[in-house]
């Protein structure tokens, strides 16, 4: 986490806005935050303790991003913030104020055309229950973008923050190998 992000969080947390429905019901004082998610802006009034993960799931209604531990231990909640992969359960929503967030729902084209990584996960059957999959795919997109997909060993290492209890690991590596060529061409 950068110190800049921290200071943004502190400033945002200071700008609390009492008159809102939850506050009227006796909830905690709320903070205003503006999240840009998948190219759309969402103005939100949140309990300042709200994680980016819970903001996405419970306040914006984007439930593709999953909660597997809430402690930064599983990777199910991985999203991209300004292109970097980030664990949304360890990120306060306020820290993402004004930054651009990409979730699994924002990966396919507006016409519904799948991102090459999504198609590769289908082609290689890189999941079973599918619960870790949004996080795996977001991480995989970043893994290629970072230049960490050169060999199988490198992919395995840089994908080891994303647990898959169904153990689709070899197929995930195969999917990334397929997609990385298409992404390079693009």
């Amino acid at each position: 986490m950068s110190s800049a992000a921290l200071s943004v969080a502190k400033e945002a947390a200071a700008e609390t806005t009492p008159p809102s429905s939850a506050a009227e019901r006796g909830g905690a004082p709320l903070a205003n935050v503006s999240l840009e998610i998948n190219g759309r802006t969402y103005p939100l009034a949140l309990d300042p303790r709200t994680t980016l993960l819970d903001a996405l799931r419970e306040h914006v209604g984007l439930t593709g991003t999953k909660k597997g531990c809430d402690h930064g231990q599983c990777g199910a909640c991985t999203v991209l913030v300004d292109g970097r992969r980030v664990l949304s359960c360890l990120t306060l929503a306020l820290m993402a104020d004004g930054e651009s967030v990409t979730t699994i729902e924002g990966l396919a084209g507006p016409d519904g055309a799948l991102h090459p990584m999504q198609q590769a996960f289908i082609d290689k059957d890189a999941f079973q229950c599918g619960y870790c999959t949004p996080g795996q795919i977001m991480s995989a997109v970043a893994c290629v973008e970072e230049g960490h997909a050169n060999t199988d060993a490198e992919i395995r290492e840089y994908m080891s923050g994303n647990l898959c209890r169904c153990a689709a690991y070899p197929n995930i590596v195969a999917a990334i190998n397929q997609a990385k060529h298409e992404l390079k061409r693009a």
């Binding site: 819970d54 909660k67 531990c69 229950c129 870790c132 060993a153 395995r156 994908m159 209890r165």
Partner: protein
Amino acid sequence: MDAPAKSGQPLPRLDARLKVTGGARYPSDVAVANPAYACLATSAVARGSIRAIRLDEARAVPGLLDILTYQNANEIKPINFFSKGGQAASSIMPLSAPKIWHDGQIVALVVAETFEAASEAAQKIAVDYDEEPPTATIGSPGATVNAVADVSEEHKDPGFGDADAAFAAAPVKIDAEYSTPTQHHNPMELFTTTCLWSDGKLVVHEPSQYVYGMKNGVAAQLGMDPGDVRVVSAYIGGAFGSKGSLTSRTAIVALAAKRLGRPVKLVSTRDQGFTIATYRAETRHNVKLGADRNGKLLAYSHEAFELTSRPDDYNVAGTTTTAVMYNYGAVATRVNVVHADRNTPGFMRSPPEVPYMYALESAMDELAYALQMDPVELRRINDTAKDPNPGNPRPYTSRSLMRCFDQAAAAFGWEKRSPAPRSMRDGDWLIGWGCATACYPTQIAPAAARVSLTPDGWARVQIAAHEIGTGAYTVIGQAAAERLGLELDRVKVELGDTALPPGPIAGGSNTTASATAAIVKACDAIREKLFRAAAGSNQGALAGKPIADLDLAGGRIVAGDVSEPLTAAFKYMGQAAIEEYVESVPHGLAADAMEKLYRGRVALAGGPKGEKLMFAFGAEFVEARVHARTGEIRVPRAVGAFAAGHIMNPRTAHSQLMGGMIWGISAALHEATEIDERSARYVNDNLADYLIPVNADIQTVDVIFVSETDREINPLGVKGLGELGNVGTNAAVANAVFHATGLRVRDLPIRLEKLLPSV
């Protein structure tokens, strides 16, 4: 795709697109209007009782709505433990009394306007306990032991002949103790529950492997008509047994939602999942094998101890499987349960076979070394086509074990193995190769289903079966597509909802066999109606054709070269759709099995229970590399060959078996829940400390399908394989580690500290 979707094709999953776009709605993803958020407070001691609960600080949290404790919410009615005719995962009823049965028992449910407020308030609940010294595990002071045969109506310890005498007389023998640790399923999805009421009716969104069980169990707990409870669980984020029976949280959340008059959503924490749900209990085994000098098994005895809670006799008793595995001369077995102050264990992927086959397959490997015999040959010498008990020589319907061994051995390169321990090396790495038998009972359950077909060539299949990641949507769709002559993308499959006809529990690897039996029956009824209409009409190309000559293909009714569109048959019938509801009760179950299914009771036929033995088999080979200086263990490759009857979809089957083998590697090297002996509390109750493989732990895992046809087991000849892949793998790894190091570790998991004597 031109050809109709035949079962047996490696088609992509029907739900694949939803799963890669975030569109699959797992139960906690389902949007409900104006939810209140719940959090649990759980016990910090393992035994005793609550002296006082102080709620003032929690109540002062802004946004707090309600707190349920035993003092104000003890109205949930008891239901029976699942093996005693009920649906409960445990007899322990957390909010019924101040008594504490185990660490992490639910002591309160907090409801608030936001998740953040509920979390804060749950942490501010202060509980005073009257503590008693708890019993942690097998062998701890205060543990009580019962023979399973004495406490279970179902279980009889298998045995025949005089195994003691045969063992005493055997020229070559192994007598060893093995143990397996506590393991938690840790599906990636947390244990969630969302409850909504309207007009006195309850809807539960909860990941479940048995929605009809949950519906009936919750209804009984809340004193309701089951018809007023609906359970929805369309996608399940991994289960592995943990979501099979009803845990106590469901009724508590339902009660909270009723009190509040508002939907309540609980997403329990990862650590709470260790104590509010079930787990694989730790086991201890004493195995004796006696053989003649040619390797023929003269005696097998096996005594086992399994941990359970104080009130429940949960056990897996895997000797019913191991006792029919080889052609023994005599068998003696005894299974015991050990009661301690723990939450009740439950099914976890291949519940009996994982611990019991680990013990047997390790002992077989030890025997092979004692005989100076190839371990594959030892299995060949003792292969059997029937139950070795001469008093009950039931045949296997099919058993392809040695074909699995031969194909896996060839793919692995087993013939290049140098048999002596520590004889293969690559620089600083000691190399070991090991193998073991995999097996899993082939079971089938009753199922009901509804299938409809419309003239435009769309089919709809409805059955409350469960998609836990196995590919249930896909293979069920394939079965209907094949039977109705449609492409798979013309079949809409609906699962996981008690508004649908009841499907089987997603347990015992029975879903494909049970669900497709019902689907095929419904499709055949539809075919019959279409064929009668087409052949019985006095017009059209098929008029007067024998019904036996008709088939469905490409959305048409065909007879050789001639065909008619589906629309024609519908027109002759004067109908806009055909809808068939069917019930399928497998051979070997009582006549009331279907009625019991509607009431949420589980019945399974097959496996080792019937007049014939029904099992799927496999053989697994692994390479272990142990670093000679550090003891670091790696498994760079594993090969498994499996014979499981007709494979409905090789793509999803491959993923299941591959995932299973990785589970087996994990069981051998990674997984164990650590228990503090003094406090009887779980220590590593999180995903950083509870070790499961990450991507970098796994390299090559090869799956080979060994062809097998078995027409006796069920209509499509399928053997369940979701729990086949992780049986025996733990032994194969342990056997490979012995081959690498010369050190026999008989207590799983094998971590590097246990190998220090060898480095």
